[in-house]
């Protein structure tokens, strides 16, 4: 199994996650996995269905916050968790297709994804950033 492209970073009050990936798609997927890991999700393995949702194109930091905010909303309101993402990146929008599972329980509540000092950098690992979550 490949090692994850994320690690938790110490933050006094909230939670921060260092994320990396070789390209934008991998980076976004790792950010989603990392956020789900922080939340601590138990999901029903046999409830998978495909789902598609769209995001507006824009700066990569905004895409990241929009993407994770959408996943948080779907987690909280619809009890849905996603994996095996595919991204269709267009000029005006990004269409995201993923496999969805029903959430049975979660350990921790994340209130929001912040823009705090958010800067996606090109590094030897591809793209890298630290994301701060409000908990």
């Amino acid at each position: 199994m490949a090692s994850p492209g994320y690690e938790e970073v110490d933050h006094t009050a909230d939670i921060a996650l260092r994320v990396w990936g070789k390209d934008l798609q991998t980076f976004l997927e790792q950010a989603a996995e990392g956020m789900y890991d922080l939340v601590g999700i138990e999901f029903a393995p046999d409830s998978s269905i495909d789902i598609t949702f769209d995001l507006q194109q824009g700066p990569s930091e905004t895409i990241l916050v929009d993407f994770l905010s959408e996943l948080l909303y779907l987690l909280e309101e619809r009890a849905q968790v996603f994996h095996t993402f595919s991204f269709d990146i267009g000029t005006d929008q990004i269409s995201i297709r993923a496999i969805c599972s029903k959430v049975l329980s979660i350990d921790r509540h994340i209130k929001a994804v912040t823009f705090h000092n958010l800067n996606i950098e090109k590094t030897a690992k591809g793209l890298e950033a630290t994301i701060t979550f409000d908990v």
Binding site: E8, D10, H11, T12, A13, D14, I15, G40, E61, T62, V65, D66, S69, Y73, E76, E77, A79, V103, S105, I106, D107, R108, H109, K111, A112, V113, T114, F115, H116, N117, L118, T132, D134, V135
Partner: protein
């Protein structure tokens, strides 16, 4: 930029320090820190003061950015930060208020003695846990239509009064009488409305709690008497906010105002400080939506207070002489409000951002109920789980030095991951039980994250605000029952 050290500060008093405006070229006002030297030193271990310096760059700030002794690193503004902006030239910043808009504390007093309650503590803990929806993903037992929710967003706690779920005292003894004027549901997204409908009347998780306390110490007999607090009797604290409704509003406007920053040519050291001129359409829209979230939170605590009263009635009616709970006060600690304050010696209306700071109006201030006019506003300072909480009153000094603001709690010193490495939830539960505290918690991991070791000593925080003259001591409360999501 040089690192912030003790030498960066100009000492104003033993409990007040200033980072001068000259410290960094983009600062528009100084940063004023209220803390003992020891707490000031502790604050150098994280980025809270750097964040306060960042906040001091916002356009239209007046006087200074204030930081309370319970400060800790947040995002954008530090937790414990207070900043006031000019209504004409200044900005409103969602990052200066936070995601949990009007997160706050309500305190209820009783005439139940600890001796009367003792035998019923386990039953009361179970009743509170059963009746007050709490925890991650736990939804409301209400089913409001969109129109009903929109009405509630405009009326705040008064919406509950109309349906018999609030008394006149509940309303009068709530900051702003439980309702900010200017709430505009038309500025709230459909997604926020959806989240608001499913979560109204719920406690949530994280550091939110319901606590049954014993009044153990009284420092000001008169103020305590006016508030209805008596040594040896029971009180209840409710700590929660605007839930997913407020989180969504902040998310929506932090996103939307990214464009406004460029449009109005505002330069920011941190994108989470995103803001818009108060007078702009973007600023006005955010204010209309943020006030809806503030009213939602006042109503949320009111509905939970009713659930608490129901639990007390179910368990204690007929078994103790007086089981009723009377409101002491309800305060916000994440909010933006238009208030009148002294600015360069002149009284002026400004937009006060409080993020992890409590309003602490002194005696005689407009907006206080008649009974608190002489003693000043009750200031509620919950401690970390299992430790004491404080009841204070606001002072004239707080009106002069801190835009009528004080601390809001103990303040974290340890990250959540560190806390979980050092504390096992089950061990903590056992230790609290040995101290005579009954805990009902949804998650052992969540309990460990909120361990008392992860927080500053609330007594030291209170000594600092009292030493600085921002508040006066009234009473100490110690926990008997803690309900956490």
């Amino acid at each position: 930029m040089a690192q912030i050290t003790q030498k960066t500060f100009r000492k104003i008093s033993d409990y007040e320090w200033e980072i001068p405006r000259e410290y960094r070229s983009d600062m528009r006002v100084p940063v004023r820190v209220f803390a003992s030297q020891a707490l000031l030193q502790d604050s150098l271990n994280d980025k809270s003061l750097e964040q306060a310096v960042n906040a001091s760059t916002l356009p239209g700030l007046v006087e200074a950015v204030m930081v309370m002794p319970d400060m800790h690193q947040g995002y954008g503004f530090p937790i414990g930060g207070v900043g006031a902006t000019d209504l004409e030239s200044g900005v409103i910043s969602p990052g200066g208020i936070g995601y949990d808009i009007n997160c706050g504390v309500r305190l209820l007093a009783s005439q139940i003695t600890v001796e009367e309650l003792q035998a019923w503590i386990p039953d009361l803990a179970s009743a509170l846990n059963m009746l007050c929806p709490s925890g991650v993903g736990v939804n409301s037992d209400l089913s409001l239509t969109k129109a009903e929710l929109a009405d509630a967003l405009v009326k705040g706690s008064r919406w509950a009064k109309a349906s018999g779920q609030a008394t006149a005292d509940d309303i009068n003894r709530t900051e702003d009488q439980g309702c900010l004027a200017g709430a505009d549901p038309g500025k709230v997204s459909q997604r926020a409305m959806e989240r608001g409908r499913s979560q109204l009347g719920t406690l949530g998780a994280g550091n939110h709690f319901i606590e049954v306390d014993l009044v153990t110490d009284i420092f000001d007999d008169h103020a305590a008497h006016v508030m209805g607090l008596t040594r040896g009797e029971i009180a209840v604290q409710i700590h929660t906010g605007s839930r997913g409704f407020g989180h969504q509003i902040c998310t929506d406007y932090v996103r939307r105002l990214q464009g406004a920053v460029a449009k109005y040519g505002i330069r920011l050291p941190d994108r989470q400080l995103v803001c818009a001129p108060i007078a702009s359409k973007e600023g006005q829209d955010y204010l209309g939506a943020m006030r809806c979230a503030a009213n939602y939170a006042f109503l949320n605590r009111q509905l939970l207070a009713n659930k608490v009263r129901e639990a007390f009635e179910r368990v204690l009616a007929g078994k103790v002489n007086h089981w009723h709970l009377r409101q002491v006060y309800d305060i916000a600690h994440n909010i933006g409000k238009f208030e009148n304050h002294l600015v360069q010696g002149k009284r002026k209306q400004v937009c006060v951002h409080r993020k992890g700071a409590t309003r602490a109006f002194g005696p005689g201030c407009e907006g206080l109920p008649d009974e608190y006019m002489q003693i000043g506003q009750p200031v509620l300072v919950p401690g970390s789980m299992g430790t004491a909480s404080w009841v204070l009153t606001g002072t004239e000094t707080s009106m002069q030095r801190s835009f009528g603001s004080s601390c809001h709690g103990a303040g974290r010193v340890m990250s959540r991951s560190q806390a979980k490495k050092q504390v096992w939830g089950e061990d903590l539960l056992r230790a609290l039980k040995e101290d005579g505290i009954v805990i009902r918690a949804g998650s052992m991991a969540g309990l460990a994250e909120e361990a008392p070791q992860a927080y500053k000593d609330v007594d030291r925080v209170v000594e600092s605000v009292v030493g600085a003259g921002l508040a006066k001591k009234v009473a100490i409360l110690r926990p008997l029952i803690v309900i956490k999501g």
